[in-house]
Symmetry: C2
């Protein structure tokens, strides 16, 4: 049987665009003589649709689109993900389903069994779990259909314990017992810089364990915080990858299921986290703009590495003509701040304006002088500068319709080293899931084919430049140490005590943890952060704001 | 058997405070000759702890606190809610449990069966469901323990369909079959202005249906967005309320379980939504400050009804000495803006400062003039004013340690009639779940014992005063109509088409829905909103930002 794995970028709720894409690929596959074409999980409505699934008109739209697509399945079959209605009066109203379309109609509707409800996932909020295991018979083949998590039935990770345990036997065991010729797993598995590796291992292991070839079809594209890298692949029953669709882009691969055990294994995939983060963020920016109907970005350029890397990534995603920089020097800005930012803009070919903030700052000082009544300068005055910059950037954004990109990194977001309504402004946080030490690595990576980020921006010591001669290291531990502590506390979810036991300085750990916990209130109001790690601030990490811990 | 229902206010993660409170109430109950004292769901750690439940040290702290509390249960028994560890290798790591403490130890640990995972609830993210039904035998009584949702097994609401359906029989049926003498239901059921009524009906109906007296113990207090009103009650097996603890405050009621069918029914409870919203918000503000270790609030006073009602509620919650107002008039402010705000401050006895924004505005205009290059004034200039106000308020907040209270109402939050990083600033949104028409009703209610909100503030037409002679009604439908449409779209989750079919103007519905959907990006970055309705913006409503719908 000739099988096509189709890896596409879907737009949540955009039935017209999603259906048209799916139908076009069905028609093209027909011309190539494909028997069965597979699209990813909830392809028809996009993933994750969140509470749109509670709206009747949204679900009706999805099901109508499935029927439209089915009409094009003449002489070819398709597997398309979409919501379906649970006919039972009790339980959740919907299933997360794989529609098997053939002969112009919906032939079968197979539901997801394991509904992830941890980290960034909330599927148990919407869907009723499957309890009925069967294969689809088509053109003499027995085809098992599973959806994403159904394949992940025994991962020895902490997350695995947080999974569904409705059945003693896993869906894989239930389906393998039915002796399918092959399995199609349709997925919506979000990117993180180690996920591609983990995912590959799981698919290969499961195919070998159950002796069943697995066609794995994931989506690409970004939807708000979540980026999807694809990584669609065919794995034979020995657990070898025989075909792959390149990551981070739309693509198709055709597979002859009867001869895949003869195909040479192809295990090549990118594993360098920095390269992956780079590709993920570029896609994330591009899709945020495209899917929101936006074109142009504005960025405050400080001469520092965060805004430089943000600008370089934005230029790669949107084109230099769509990215504008604003330099906002104050009396505390060093001379190199302006020249480094100008060098950056020249390297990237982007336009800039320079607006000194000194006079606005003075007018604010004057206005508040009677209220402040001679009190000493403190962090208030630093925040005023950051907020004036935020205000001027938003004024540009409003006047010209450019969306402000936020330039805060994960280290800063973690410890609250940023001003709410100031440098924390922005429609999208580009680097909010990238630690400062990795921002430097990204800068080097961006420069691999010629300088984008000026060398001086990379080598000078980081500074917020909100008071004379300020350095980040005045108030924070060195990023080399801080980032390691933060990674253990946030990504690895280790207790402060166990981090100290690993050999980190007790006082540094205590301070870092205290700052992370205390600054939950700032992160509550932060822009959506493009998620590239296993634990980003945002939807996957839900901490109470008013709490003592 | 003498039973004490103890309704307390818990602080998430504050084991010392929570344990001390619980222990003090156990000791007092001993002195009153109580046999069994019942505390609410997850009392020991506070509700909702969210992802703190994924942290080892947090769970260990909770379990250590339970052991400490158990030591005080000599000659008395206690039911205390807390997390417990699921001993099975598979499934979620925790149970949501009712600990039965007696003879100085944990006698029984009974787990929650129905784990709500809809609206504001995410319990399936953390907890494994109970599968083992038994009663606790103590002093000759057979006591059934259930936890919150376990009682809500057949609500004919849309939400009910979104509930767990792991068992054909509900926990109520399973436990009723064991013929308990009475049931203790420990709950953490959040407030909304109709929830007290719904909750009472459910508890009474279930007690009568299963012919079992039910002691219902809920918590009070606010944790970030969620407010808890208590409403703890004893219901006899005929479904009549025999004892109640007053809502919105800590309290205890002792019940003699053997004679409750003789006690006169007491069904009195507050049903007026405005009175309930008032009480809920006052508690919400007070707890946000107290539990965050904060004392003082600052509010921008515009002379309008939103800031006036916010200030009045803040004064009730925190005391006039802890609430400071800042008047920030511009050239577009009417004369009455300042005088109405001054009248308000005089009524409330709160201090104020007045800071004209004209000069700062002019300095921003000057700074941006070369960039704007002669372009027409538009919404940019309105936003600049709002952001200057936000900046000055935050400067006061930073300098004096007062927390800025946000004054936006739900109608504005819905349609995006507010400036991000401007009037949307604030640590807590007081009225973000109160429609504009209800804000006026709250103003009248606040004035019932003497004027708090000036009459002119209530009767003048709403205006943002960001351009000459501006009125809200210039750009929005009348609030009388708009709020009804919004309520149907947001709270009732009705489709735009069905709202039109109810008789609302098609163009008004189309515009309102479009604005709600488009402004998801503003609400993404909004302050936490005190939830008082059945569907607030925030944790209970999760819409994709980058989507087409």
């Amino acid at each position: 049987m000739k099988l096509a794995l189709v890896q596409l970028n879907y737009h949540i709720g955009n039935y017209e665009e999603n259906s048209n894409k799916i139908i076009a690929h069905i028609e093209e596959a027909k011309e190539r003589g494909v028997d069965l074409v597979a699209f990813s999980e909830l392809a028809v409505c996009g993933y994750p649709p969140l509470d749109l699934l509670t709206r009747q008109e949204f679900v009706e739209g999805a099901i109508a689109a499935i029927h439209d697509i089915a009409k094009h399945c003449q002489g070819i079959a398709a597997v398309v993900g979409g919501p379906s209605i649970n006919p039972q009066a009790r339980g959740k109203q919907l299933h997360n389903s794989a529609y098997f379309l053939a002969d112009g109609v919906i032939k079968e509707t197979i539901h997801k069994t394991l509904l992830p409800n941890y980290d960034v996932f909330d599927e148990y909020r919407y869907f009723q779990a499957n309890q009925d295991f069967r294969v689809v018979n088509y053109k003499g083949k027995r085809i098992a259909l599973t959806i994403c998590e159904d394949l992940w039935d025994d991962q020895p990770t902490a997350a695995a314990f947080a999974r569904n345990n409705l059945y003693t036997l896993s869906p894989m065991q239930k389906l393998a017992a039915l002796k399918p010729d092959f399995m199609v797993n349709i997925a919506a598995s979000p990117f993180s810089y180690h996920q591609e590796n983990v995912r590959k291992q799981v698919v290969c292991k499961k195919a070998a364990e159950y002796r069943v070839p697995v066609a794995y079809v994931n989506q690409i594209g970004a939807n708000t915080e979540l980026i999807f890298d694809g990584g669609s692949m065919m794995v034979n029953s020995e657990g070898n990858i025989t075909h792959r669709v390149p990551t981070f882009k739309e693509g198709v691969v055709d597979v002859e299921t009867d001869s895949i055990d003869d195909v040479a294994s192809d295990n090549l995939f990118e594993t360098n986290p920095i390269n992956l983060i780079h590709d993920g963020i570029v896609l994330g920016i591009r899709d945020y703009f495209r899917k929101s109907g936006l074109q142009k970005a504005v960025i405050g350029l400080s001469g520092g590495v965060d805004s430089a890397v943000t600008a370089a990534l934005a230029v790669k995603a949107l084109g230099a003509e769509n990215v504008h920089g604003i330099l906002l020097p104050s009396q505390y800005s060093s001379g190199h701040s302006v020249s480094d930012a100008e060098d950056l803009a020249a390297n990237l070919g982007m336009g800039t304006h320079t607006v000194a903030i000194k006079d606005v700052y003075q007018s604010v000082e004057n206005a508040m002088a009677p209220v402040f009544d001679g009190r000493e300068a403190d962090v208030t005055e630093e925040n005023i500068q950051a907020r004036i910059r935020g205000l001027l950037l938003m004024a540009y954004s409003n006047k010209f319709g450019h969306i402000l990109l936020n330039t805060s990194n994960k280290s800063e977001a973690a410890v609250g080293y940023g001003t709410l309504y100031g440098d924390m402004n922005g429609g999208l946080s580009v680097l909010g899931d990238v630690y400062k030490t990795d921002v430097f690595k990204l800068a080097r990576y961006l420069n691999k084919d010629g300088e984008m980020v000026p060398e001086n921006t990379i080598v000078k010591p980081p500074s917020a430049e909100l008071r004379p001669d300020q350095k980040d290291s005045d108030s924070l531990p060195d990023y080399d140490v801080l980032d390691k502590v933060l990674f253990r506390y946030i990504e690895l979810n280790r207790s402060p005590q166990s981090i100290v036991e690993e050999g980190f300085d007790k006082e540094v750990v205590r301070k870092a943890v205290r700052l992370v916990n205390f600054n939950e209130y700032k992160r509550f109001q932060t822009a959506p952060i493009l998620r590239v790690s296993g634990k980003a601030f945002g939807v996957g990490r839900r901490m109470p704001l008013v709490a003592k811990y």
